[in-house]
């Protein structure tokens, strides 16, 4: 099949078009806007049979998306960064409504200071909301993940919304060859949404989103969400298998790169994983048995998969493109929690880098891989490190002088 050169945002829009969504409530925010502009154009041209509406905020946008989904429509929406946080209250709310909508987040660092380029504090802030999370490295993966996300969300064992994440700029505006699947094939994989659970209609009055008091109901419904989300791990495996059978591409809960015999493992997510893979390849050239684990499904967290992969390895380094102020890397904590009861657990190092889209250079990757080798030699695990090169430091000193703080 022919491939087209598409940006990450255009790939997202194609995923939505092929999923034949009914409704797109939207609100512009950089770097996501290209997605909703593309959809608006297609809907305006009659290429998509859906209603597009610009709301008055992301808070309203997520509400409209959830309410439409609770009425029985297939719904898509998208946001980034400040927008995601502005709508934050409604992420938890619509997840509790158990509505199977799909949202794309185009990652961007959070204010303040206000910025445009990516890190993952925005998407990871939504970690506990009840949305499932799929994190993408490539444009193809963005398109494919949206199709898989609807299958996953609409499965009656799951019925939870899904966020598909891609990095702002590095993926949203980067063109890559993408195979756009045939619509008939997509229809076989993802049939029209016909909800059987809960939706509004005159012949069936029902109260949705009602208050609960006393903790009994609250705990019950929260546990139900958690169990449905963990159940989604099983459902995901079926969806992934069927996707592979239909389209010939495999997207697991994680992606391993040179993992088989690897002794030193880098753990990364999203587009910067490409830099990590190049570093692993270079390390292999020098005889270091390095490998990379890229987390794709972050909620539900594929804990058993990760424990199985990590068993018998020497050192694991988690590179967090996020920072939990006062604690450190968020994914470092998550990986640590699934390794802590293992009998032969690898040493675990933590680095923070790529905040606000700052590059992670080949030299820094080399430093991280060396740190792993040294940790085995000395048995000493270094404390968490914040990546910042000498050149970057000098440049920052120069900027501070201009700002009068030198």
């Amino acid at each position: 099949m022919e491939k087209e050169m598409l940006t990450g945002n255009a790939s997202a829009a194609w995923g939505v078009r092929l999923a034949e969504v009914d409704y797109v409530p939207a609100y512009p925010v950089t770097p996501q806007t290209e997605i909703i502009e593309t959809l608006a154009r297609w809907i305006c041209d009659g290429l998509m049979d859906a209603k597009f509406i610009t709301m008055d905020s992301e808070h309203s946008m997520i509400t409209a998306a959830g309410a439409a989904s609770a009425t029985g429509a297939r719904v898509f929406t998208a946001s980034s960064s400040q927008g995601l946080l502005y709508g934050f209250e409604m992420l938890y709310t619509v997840a509790g409504w158990r509505v199977p909508l799909v949202m794309v987040n185009v990652s961007r660092g959070l204010s303040s200071p206000i910025t445009l380029e990516p890190d993952h504090n925005d998407i990871l802030a939504a970690r506990d909301s009840g949305f499932l999370q799929v994190h993408c490295e490539t444009c193809q993966e963005v398109l494919d993940s949206i199709l898989m996300a609807y299958r996953l969300a609409e499965d009656e064992q799951v019925l939870l919304p899904v966020i598909v994440n891609l990095d702002g700029f590095y993926l949203s505006f980067t063109r890559e060859p993408v195979e756009v699947p045939d619509l008939e094939e997509v229809r076989r994989f993802l049939p029209t949404y016909r909800p059987r659970h809960a939706f509004f209609k005159a012949s069936q009055p029902m109260a949705q989103g009602v208050a609960v008091l006393g903790g009994l109901g609250y705990s019950y419904f929260k546990y139900q969400m958690h169990l449905a989300c963990t159940r989604a791990l099983e459902v995901y495996k079926d969806v992934s298998l069927e996707f592979e059978k239909t389209f010939g591409r495999k997207h697991g809960t994680y992606e391993g790169y040179m993992l088989d015999d690897a002794e030193y493992i880098l753990v990364m997510t999203n587009s910067f994983s490409t830099l990590g893979k190049a570093a692993v390849k270079r390390a292999r050239g020098k005889g270091v048995k390095a490998g990379l684990l890229r987390l794709r499904l972050l909620r539900p967290f594929p804990e058993m998969d990760i424990r199985n992969i990590m068993r018998g390895r020497k050192v694991v380094t988690v590179i967090d493109q996020n920072i939990s102020i006062g604690k450190g890397g968020i994914l470092h904590s998550e990986i640590a929690s699934c390794l802590c009861n293992e009998e032969k657990k690898p040493l675990l190092l933590s680095f923070i880098g790529g905040l606000g889209g700052k590059n992670i250079s080949p030299g820094e990757f080399e430093f991280m891989i060396d740190s792993m080798v040294r940790a085995v030699e000395t048995g000493e695990v270094t404390t968490q490190k914040l990546l910042y090169t000498e050149m970057e430091w000098k440049e920052m000193e120069r900027l501070k002088r201009i700002a009068g703080k030198g």
Binding site: D22, D56, T63, A67, S69, M206, A207
Partner: protein, 332 residues
Amino acid sequence: MERNGKTKKNSGERIKIMEAPIKSIKDLPLEENLLPGTPACAGCGGLLSLRHCLKTLGRNTVIVNAASCFTLLAIYPFTPFKNSWLYTAMACAPAGAQGIRDALDILIRKGRLDTEEDLKVVVLTGDGAAYDMGLSSTSGAIHRNLDFYYICYDNEAYGNTGFQWSGATPFASRTGTTPLGRLSKTGTTLHKKDLFEIWRSQKPPYLATILPAHPVDLANKFKKAEQFKGPKLFITFSPCPPGWGMDPSFSIKLAKLAVNTGIWPLKEAVYGDVVHTVVPKKFKPIEEYLKEQGRFRHLFKPERQEETIKKIQDMVDNYWRIYLSAFTGNKM
């Protein structure tokens, strides 16, 4: 005051407006869609209004609720409504209404839902959401000409949290966050926002003020509103016995006093043109309304605050002088 069968011109379109089909309380719809047994406070004026609103709106209605006292009407596994219900959050009920309205339209158009399954979409909020936090989503929905009803039950404070100041709190009212003390003997020195005028600036097809003491006026306004596609907005005066400091049995009498003193004008606006629907022949002094309520008691005891009472009376008089003469040609 009535303008039976008057035609209204809007954007080149002529609509024949049916007026006042309900003549007396005996003509009110018999159906009940809000059943007794709610946890609302005794004498809740908002609840009395809501009962009448839903009688006229009918069964095939979905209520989209914003955080307010009425959020606690439906507590799992019970609901007092024969209608459908969706609780959203505080700021965004009109956005929830947008999602439901759009989804119903799309599903009906695509043949995935029968036309008979259609619902009227009704936003239900308190004044905290309507006047303050929810103003952005409300303005957005009016601007997009969303086909929905909007009912704000206005008890002039954040009632569900125990009666604190809101944008709807009237001048000189005591609330939990505008208390009386050594430095202030007035209560709030800010004036109630004019939500009717804020809405009217966007020229929705229909907006009205209502209250539970005039159910015929209320029902006729809903009957009239249903002829319009687009936003249909209602603010109901809602006596709040625990917040306002009055006996629950007094709610209806106080609502009548609010009309007869002129502090709560009953009016409507069709595409922005205002008409007052109930105008007392002779206005009672505002003092009669104020002195019945604990929230204004400081204006009379321990000493009478003549200047503040006069200021409130002047505001009421000014309203009627300006608005009534401007919109209807009536002279006081």
